[in-house]
């Protein structure tokens, strides 16, 4: 623990030792409001979800709830739609994170070089991330990807693609395009932060020694960026696994459930199907899945976190 706690912290802890007890509570007091608030608002619902997942309960029939044990979980595991949407979630999350990261690395490498108007280009590039997701999804659905009036098809017309119905034919891909567009700037910013923390003199020395740019990138830059790229992967995955806005606005999960992911499917089950028990069981399953990803994430964040502090 002391290895991770910042130097300031350990120094003060030594001094704090003699006056424990009341002094400890004085120190702890500023922390408590935030902690208690967070526990109540975020943890209580999850415990309730766990409880609901063991009930048979329909929102439209008040008083219908009764304990059914693991029946909801059995039903969920036998539900082929659940597996389809689970697979969609994996494809959307992994695909979008990977492509956004590749694009992000490319853009960050460009922004790391000096050129005229670099600040403006950087500002242009981060803008997609700032656009309200609902507005972004609407824009992509209509003026960008509309089969007849969308500008994408107009640009692709010389290639003979004509009036391709993106949302109807490749709904999953269309949603992913929107997600990648929104998340590439995030990856770019992380990688750029990594590039700019790289000691320039080593790279230059390697250049003087006659190393080829590609060799420098593979042998020096990429290993240095690894931490930032990993962080981008896990943070991106955590945010994107919960993607709801784009699916809701662009396809409503359709046609059928071909572009629905788990958050959207759970929403449908709970608020359109009124099946509280089953939706809760799915929620619990998603939580378990997320915890697996999050365990990696937490470890990584703390590693990079203590890393920057040591560097500071």
């Amino acid at each position: 623990m002391t290895a991770i706690a910042p130097p300031v912290a350990s120094a003060q802890r030594v001094r704090a030792r003699p006056d424990r007890g009341r002094q400890g509570w004085v120190r702890r007091a500023p922390l408590l409001p935030a902690l208690i608030f967070t526990i109540i608002v975020t943890q209580l619902p999850f415990l309730l979800t766990l409880w609901y997942s063991l009930q048979s309960w329909s929102l439209v029939r008040p008083g219908s709830e009764h304990f059914v044990g693991f029946a909801n979980y059995v039903a969920v595991f036998q539900d082929s739609q659940f597996w389809t949407t689970a697979l969609n979630t994996v494809i959307m999350t992994v695909g979008s994170v990977l492509i956004a990261m590749l694009l992000g690395i490319g853009l960050a490498l460009i922004l790391d070089r000096k050129f005229i108007g670099r600040g403006i280009v950087r500002t242009l590039l981060i803008t997609p991330f700032l656009v309200m997701p609902v507005a972004a999804a609407l824009t992509w659905k209509t003026v960008m990807l509309d089969p007849t009036y969308g500008i994408v098809n107009w640009v692709l017309r010389p290639l003979g693609i004509g009036q391709f119905d993106w949302i109807g034919q490749v709904p999953l891909l269309s949603v992913m395009i929107e997600m990648i567009w929104q998340w590439t700037p995030f990856m770019m910013l992380l990688v750029l932060a990594g590039l700019q923390s790289q000691p320039k003199d080593i790279v230059e020395a390697a250049g003087v020694d006659g190393a080829k740019p590609l060799g420098i990138f593979r042998e020096l830059t990429l290993p240095h960026l690894r931490r930032y790229i990993e962080l981008g992967f896990v943070l991106g995955a955590i945010y994107l696994i919960n993607e709801f806005d784009a699916v809701y606005m662009m396809t409503q999960g359709g046609p059928g459930i071909s572009s629905a992911n788990l958050p959207f499917y759970i929403y449908q089950r709970a608020f359109l199907g009124f099946e509280v028990g089953q939706a809760a069981a799915m929620g619990v399953i998603v939580v378990v899945m997320t915890i697996i990803v999050a365990t990696f994430a937490l470890r990584l964040i703390f590693k990079s976190f203590s890393g920057t502090e040591q560097a500071a």
Partner: protein
């Protein structure tokens, strides 16, 4: 040391004077890199630009198979949007954003203080706890939240959103504020303590001036997230407390008919955050990586 929050600016951290001899070849390369950079920047920005351009068209100009680039701009769509009653949604969004951000800072600042400058035992566990709440999918919590709100007669109530947005942004703010507090020079604190200054004066006169930019950056990040939030808003509000993203949903039902008007509404909804984000762009990474990266 104090300058570090400012030098998060990569333009400044790039040690320009350390690279005196730029070889001619490198310079020519950079011209091409610059052109590529500009092209890609415009490409990525294009959907936003197209949204804004379309918002100044008439509906007839929108429905042409060859997009009209040259046209006489009209404010007709904006007039329709503002006449169609976007204001209550705007007011709700502004209220939920500002009030939740206020509460976030109110709760997060002392908490981050306790976790950095006056660390308590189990600092690490508490930090872990905060960040882990951010990683649990909201969709798994929405059902109990909905039922609780219904039973407390808090559905379609703006304060429900305020509470949820506060909880949503609190972990980010705690982590961000902590990373700013850790930048307060230790010598400054010790000097203040040596002079026997009371804690309140140390906080207001030594710590606050140093973390003030951080406080502003944290507030901006929280505002961006609260303003853009959709999932809670669409599930927990109806007519009274609906926010701007919920207003935009109305356009998917009238699908395909009013592209220009839709773009005007989307532009109005998006503009505040784009501007805030441009201002806060240096701190964006820090907020998004929970302070892990500066």
């Amino acid at each position: 040391m104090m300058a570090r929050s400012i030098t998060a600016d990569p333009e400044l951290t790039t040690p320009a004077p350390k690279r005196p001899a730029v070889r001619p070849k490198r310079r020519r390369n950079n011209t091409w890199v610059g052109i590529l950079g500009w092209l890609l920047g415009i490409l990525f920005f294009f959907p936003v630009l197209w949204m804004v351009i379309t918002s100044f068209k008439t509906e007839a100009q929108t429905y042409t198979s060859t997009p009209s680039i040259v046209f006489s701009p009209t404010l007709e769509q904006y007039k329709t949007v503002f006449d169609s009653g976007i204001w209550p949604y705007f007011a709700n969004s502004a209220f939920a954003t500002i009030v939740s951000t206020f509460f976030v800072l109110l709760l997060a600042t002392p908490c981050a203080f306790a976790l950095s400058l006056r660390p308590v035992k189990k600092t690490r566990d508490v930090l872990f706890f905060f960040i882990s709440t951010k990683m649990l999918p909201i969709v798994a919590a929405i059902i109990p939240i909905y039922i609780a709100a219904r039973d407390l007669h808090m559905l379609d109530n703006i304060f429900t959103l305020v509470i949820l947005y506060t909880a949503m942004n609190l972990p980010i703010a705690v982590w961000m504020m902590r990373s700013f507090f850790l930048e307060v020079p230790g010598e400054l604190l010790e000097a203040a303590e040596m002079d026997g200054a009371p804690l309140r004066r140390t906080v207001t006169e030594v710590i606050l001036p140093v973390v003030a930019p951080g406080l502003a950056a944290t507030a901006l990040i929280c505002c961006i997230f609260a303003w853009n939030e959709f999932f809670f808003a669409v599930n927990l509000t109806a007519t009274q407390a609906a926010t701007v993203p919920v207003f935009l949903v109305g356009f998917i039902s009238s699908e395909g008919l009013y592209f220009a008007q839709l773009c005007a509404a989307a532009t109005v909804a998006t503009l505040p955050v784009i501007l805030a984000g441009w201002v806060a762009q240096r701190q964006l990474v820090r907020g998004l990586s929970f302070g892990a990266i500066k």
